[in-house]
């Protein structure tokens, strides 16, 4: 990696890319790949699908780089592009899902309860657990899943959320409240299946 480029600001690299030095885009991709990829994995739950989505994000961002006005950090703007890409994918996947909560929890109740009982761990989930997490979160509306992921996993504060989601502060607060209420219903489904 070119250490001089690594010290160059995002704004200078963008200007350089826009003036025709396409190769400087590599440094921007290198710099922002971990966060964009992380969001895509969190949202989509599948690393291969997340990699494809993240590539789409950086290709779209390249085409629209001249639209970036610099009123937010580049990372926040990329989150917005990534969020829209993931929402598209999740919405089309959600249309294919038909299984009821009852059937899902009846089949996966033991695994879900194990996940909830585990203390927080830095170790990555084994693949079966990761798959169960993915399928559980897939049952949340994509918008709720997105805002919970941006807040809880990516750690965006409310001001950053307004920019990443292109909405008002009141809208961010209301969406988070509703998302958490819906998120909590997962517990209700799991607990009720235990009592049957």
């Amino acid at each position: 990696m070119d250490s001089k480029k690594a010290e160059t600001s995002d704004a200078d690299l963008i200007e350089s890319v826009l003036s025709g030095r396409q190769e400087d885009y590599a440094e921007l991709v290198r710099r922002h790949h971990p966060r964009v990829f992380g969001l895509c994995v969190s949202m989509l739950g599948d690393r291969a699908q997340a990699e494809d989505a993240a590539q789409d994000v950086f290709l779209k961002a390249y085409r629209r780089l001249s639209d970036f006005r610099g009123d937010a950090a580049l990372s926040t703007w990329l989150y917005r592009v990534a969020a829209n890409r993931c929402l598209d994918l999740l919405r089309s996947a959600a249309r294919r899902r038909e299984e009821s909560w009852e059937a899902f929890v009846e089949r996966e109740g033991d695994g879900l309860r194990r996940l909830l009982a585990e203390p927080a761990s830095a170790a990555p989930l084994v693949s079966e657990e990761a798959d169960l997490v993915r399928r559980t979160l897939a049952r949340l509306p994509p918008d709720y899943r997105l805002i919970l992921t941006l807040r809880e996993v990516e750690g965006l504060d409310y001001a950053e959320l307004t920019k990443a989601l292109d909405c008002s502060m009141d809208s961010v607060k209301a969406k988070l409240r509703r998302a958490r209420q819906r998120f909590r219903e997962i517990l209700g489904h799991i607990e009720s299946s235990k009592n049957v």
Binding site: R30, H33, Q55, A120, V133, V153, R180, I186
Partner: protein, 155 residues
């Protein structure tokens, strides 16, 4: 502070986004209200189970990703190798081509016109905004005259 009002602000309390004055009051309420405490505890439990941070990609994975993206970018418009670019990008080429052109033209002229033509075309020798010395320097003019076989009148 009533319960419903407090409950509506629990989400902001969890996120540390409440103003200081509201935070103190809500924290006091939550400490006494089992329903609010349970809601906060459930969110924490669900978040730990289902919203875990993703392991960061390794530097090797990132480099592979960078290469994949760069390979998919649209190719920049190739810079056309125009005569203009060639002329402006090579400082000595312009006068050299000018001299060669004049020599070529003069070689086709009848002998009687050559001497006057060499003088007449001299102002055309302008490169990069500067008139080169051919028109004014006798030595240079003599060099051209010799090259094209024309007697130098200035000698």
């Amino acid at each position: 502070m009533n319960h419903e009002q407090s409950r509506s602000e629990l989400s902001e309390l969890r996120d540390g986004e409440l103003p200081e004055s509201r935070r103190a009051a809500l924290s006091r309420h939550a400490a006494e209200c089992s329903s609010c405490r349970a809601e906060l505890a459930d969110w924490e439990r669900l978040t730990r189970a289902f919203l875990r941070p993703v392991p960061a990609p390794t530097s090797v994975e990132t480099e592979r990703f960078v290469n994949s993206v760069m390979a998919r970018l649209p190719q920049p418009e190739t810079e056309r190798l125009s005569l203009w670019a060639l002329l402006t990008g090579t400082p000595l080429l312009t006068p050299a081509l000018g001299l060669a052109s004049v020599a070529l033209v003069l070689s086709f002229l009848p002998l009687g016109f050559r001497a006057s033509a060499a003088t007449a075309v001299a102002p055309l020798f302008v490169a990069d905004g500067q008139e080169i010395a051919l028109a004014s320097a006798p030595a240079a003019r003599a060099g051209v005259s010799e090259a094209v076989g024309v007697p130098d009148e200035s000698r």
